[in-house]
Symmetry: C2
Subunit: 561 residues, 2 copies
């Protein structure tokens, strides 16, 4: 048993339990408190971040012979994030990756798991550096950058290591096999005995293509799933969000080298605006698995152009809320307002389309008309974001100029606004691009209008009745895909019907959320992120199907009689 | 718990144990004895087979509105196998398949497993019908038709049901989740409590494309993996081997209907020479997974033309034997002779290329020159097949006119034959196409000559020495793929090195086989068939990676406080 495995065994063992029981648990501190990270850690993280800005990002374990390329970028909060990153050509990357994998795949499984666990642990210790790098590349607010960007991303990574350990240990390492194969001339049974050994081996080189909004949370599952099952990984960040994954690769390479493993098990690939660089990498025969989160254009390109590679894709979707009735109108509207506001609707799990019967709904405050429900959500949103300091903590900034343009164009259109767009002013970041949610009233027949509008734009959709809303929601899941759906209903029969039908349409479902959990959030070890059952994603993050195909088995059998 | 689940629970439970322990076990009788199948069962199977010939194959639970199409075929043993099979157009097949899946995916898992187990059990009971249908479509000899065609195929099917049960039950059905999310105004902890339900759901419609040589053994794993995880399946047999899969589908539909399940969960698709029919089916968006065993042409086409579909492929490979030394020369040559002869080398696991150091090897009978080793194998083969009744029991018949032509052309060439081709005469089947193995001597530099020659053609290849042989074997595995490799060595250091390097090259390996187990055979629950690690197959039959990606998870969570 390796030292690192022993060091982290208790944590891994607990993770392996809870992916079965699905109970609430976490391994890494999710509060940005020095109580967990040590005195001075907060300031040190900020100082380390600032020291990186504008310069060359130097890996502690360099990628030899890499050329430094200038990557220009501006933080969604307005600060200059231009830096230079090391870049290698495709063939060097792939040759080294394949070479490194030869050693990595042969390691004793426990040793490999121990190294993965140590990587997670060291990444956790750098959470106060990660928080700034996430915030200033993605535009996430501070608390989310800390939680989703570091702590929860690490939980998702650990979750895949736990699945890898379960999948690998589902087969005995060795067996003694004994089979009667016939009789000899005297009629005595003849048997053949064999010693068999079963060797799990990673399938080769994986590519993890990072997204611009959640480079770590969406990236760590694939990254650690590939690594823990014995593959090397090329990490290709979005040009908009390089730093968080550069820090990740840096720490991982250091852990590898500290343990006398070829650090090229993990390498960084900087496309820097050159799409053909990424395309050439993913189309190389040595690539056996690709993890991608992002838009349909490149996702669909990957499906068409990577022949027979194992693809784990999360693409665009359209998330719905269905309101049939509620016994806590105020808490419901507050909960929805929070979900619409969090990171300016730029989460793949953020709700966009809110289906409400045109004749209104029953609530604990009596019957509410469609307009009253819509106004309730609008009021709750205004109240939540009225104070710019609270807006700063929740909204964050707009991830890209595309989103900024989209929200401006929408705001300037002649739609029926229940809530018009407003901006927020952040004291520390006067140049931040911000937008509070727009809420637009539409008829169910305006389906084209409420197709995906990534960003803080939401729709209240008047349906014939609750049954009609349910049909429309299920159709939308099947047609456009969905990462999440929310349902509010106190009518037991309708609720059960909706729970069944939305599950069958293939969307994760949250029912009657009124407290401090939001439909946008999925909890590691407990909630499957995505279902693999609708066009938004072809896999769950994380289940056995996400991890087990990344390795194969070699049976070595030797006759012993 | 369903009645069928209860009926078969003990068997399934044992299968779930042994896929972990990998010990020797079997669920279905592998000897064609009436002791297992009841008095008169043997004759009844033959009578039932003969009654089918020449007529319409009528399903006991018909595919409504199917048109009967004439499918002409001749048994490799020479008898007329022309029959009429029911055929539906693509859209009808897919619509019905999708419709049927909606019910199937929602069944309680135990109910679904119970139905799959009942299908296997009823198929086993028809082993004496299956044996003739396998023999006269594939050309397998009788005993192999019984074992590989029925008993062992069923074991491989059961194995996937066991993996499905393990994968599905790896997640609790429900959990109560409780998380502290903050404090109220009085400083008391606030928590959110949720009831969560986790619903596994099949991803949609699968296609199982049967092969011409092992329609059931290679087909049942994918078929039962898809079914047991909640998918419907369209079974597309090879035009050369329709009957075994028609019988399979027939029995499955009957079991479905007996249990009030829509029988279209399993349907038959007859391409009948029309490639575009198959291509249209597999390219339909509703298809989520494809299982295929066969040549590289269609396998590579599938990789290129089925965008983002989960592919489980077994394609062409090149299987090697490396002889460094042996302590039982006679038993080694006998074992190899058997492997070369079994089903005329038409197994995807049959060895073709035998690497021997040019200066010969050490044996229990002293040093043997290269030519002596080659002659030993040739002599053992001649002895094994000298008697035509024994040849009939081992060789079977040539699967196709392609194979027949290939062996003729090879036999007519001016190669250096250690063993020339001979035919066999079978008393009961005067028109059978037969060929005993050819053994051809080549230098290691004639690599093009010993590329894959599907059929009874093998090569003895003179290498510089044992190390050189090991390098060539590993290169061949990585370049051409391999389903099996055999090694003979008594030199402990070399043996360990070869075991390591061949495992790392990614081929299953059998060492020092001298008894009644052959390199061609892989044993369900114990040996992984293929590794998923070389070009011959992208997956193991069977491991978690073969089963788990066929379904996803829906999380339904409801706040309870």
């Amino acid at each position: 048993m390796s030292d690192l495995y022993e060091k982290h065994e208790e944590t891994l063992s607990k993770a392996r339990d809870v992916i079965h029981t699905r109970e609430e648990w976490s391994a890494y501190p999710e509060m940005p408190s020095e109580k967990h990270f040590g005195e001075g850690s907060k300031q040190k993280g900020e100082d380390d971040f600032k020291a990186l800005l504008g310069g060359k990002y130097e890996f502690k374990v360099p990628m030899q012979d890499a050329e430094y390329v200038q990557c220009d970028a501006t933080s969604p909060y307005g600060i200059d994030m231009s830096m230079q990153y090391p870049k290698l050509d495709k063939d060097t990357l792939l040759e080294r990756s394949q070479q490194a994998q030869k050693q990595w795949r042969k390691l004793d499984n426990d040793t490999r798991f121990g190294i993965c666990m140590e990587m997670l642990d060291r990444l956790s210790k750098q959470s106060f550096l990660m928080v700034h790098s996430i915030m200033h590349t993605t535009g996430q607010p501070y608390m989310m950058s800390f939680q989703a960007g570091s702590a929860h991303a690490l939980e998702r990574g650990l979750e895949t290591v736990a699945y890898a350990a379960n999948a690998i240990e589902s087969t005995a390492k060795t067996t003694q096999w004994d089979k009667v194969t016939g009789k000899d001339k005297e009629g005595n049974l003849i048997s053949v005995k064999m010693d068999k050994t079963f060797k799990p081996r990673g399938k080769g080189v994986g590519v993890m293509i990072g997204c611009a909004t959640f480079p770590t949370w969406n990236g760590y599952p694939g990254l650690f799933a590939s690594l823990s099952t014995g593959n090397s990984v090329i990490v290709k960040p979005s040009d908009k969000a390089i730093l968080p994954l550069a820090i990740t690769v840096d720490i991982m390479r250091e852990v590898l080298q500290d343990n006398d493993i070829n650090p090229d098990v993990v390498q960084l690939a900087i496309s820097n605006g050159d799409h053909s660089y990424t395309q050439d990498i993913v189309q190389d025969d040595r690539i056996k698995m690709i993890d991608f989160t992002g838009g349909n254009t490149f996702g669909d390109w990957l499906k068409k152009n990577t022949d027979g590679v194992q693809l784990y894709l999360e693409q665009a979707g359209l998330n719905n809320i269905l309101i049939e009735s509620t016994d806590n109108f105020r808490a419901m509207t507050s909960n929805i307002a929070f979900s619409l506001s969090l990171y300016s609707g730029q989460m793949c799990t953020a709700p966009q389309n809110i289906y409400i019967p045109k004749d209104g709904i029953d609530t604990n405050d009596g019957h509410k008309s469609f307009d009253e429900v819509a106004a309730g959500i609008a009021t709750a949103t205004e109240k939540l974001l009225g104070d710019d300091r609270r807006a700063f903590a929740l909204l964050g900034a707009l991830n890209s100029e595309d989103v900024n343009k989209r929200v401006q164009q929408s705001a300037d259109s002649n739609k029926t606004f229940v809530l018009g767009m407003k901006t927020a002013d952040y004291a520390d970041f006067p140049d931040a691009k911000t937008a509070k949610p727009q809420l637009i009233k539409v008829s169910k027949d305006d389906a084209e209008m409420y197709e995906e509008q990534f960003g803080p734009i939401a729709y209240v959709i008047a349906t014939d009745d609750a049954q009609n809303a349910l049909e429309l929601v299920c159709d939308s899941i099947e047609q456009h895909g969905a990462m999440t759906t929310a349902l509010y209903s106190t009518a037991e029969d309708f609720k059960q019907q909706a729970m069944d039908e939305i599950a069958d349409a293939g969307s994760p479902l949250s029912v009657n959320l009124t407290g401090g959990v939001y439909v946008n959030q999925s909890s590691a070890y407990s909630d499957f992120h995505g279902s693999g059952l609708n066009p938004a994603a072809n896999t769950c993050l994380t289940d056995l199907g996400f991890v087990a195909p990344r390795f194969g088995w070699v049976t070595v059998r030797e006759q012993t009689n």
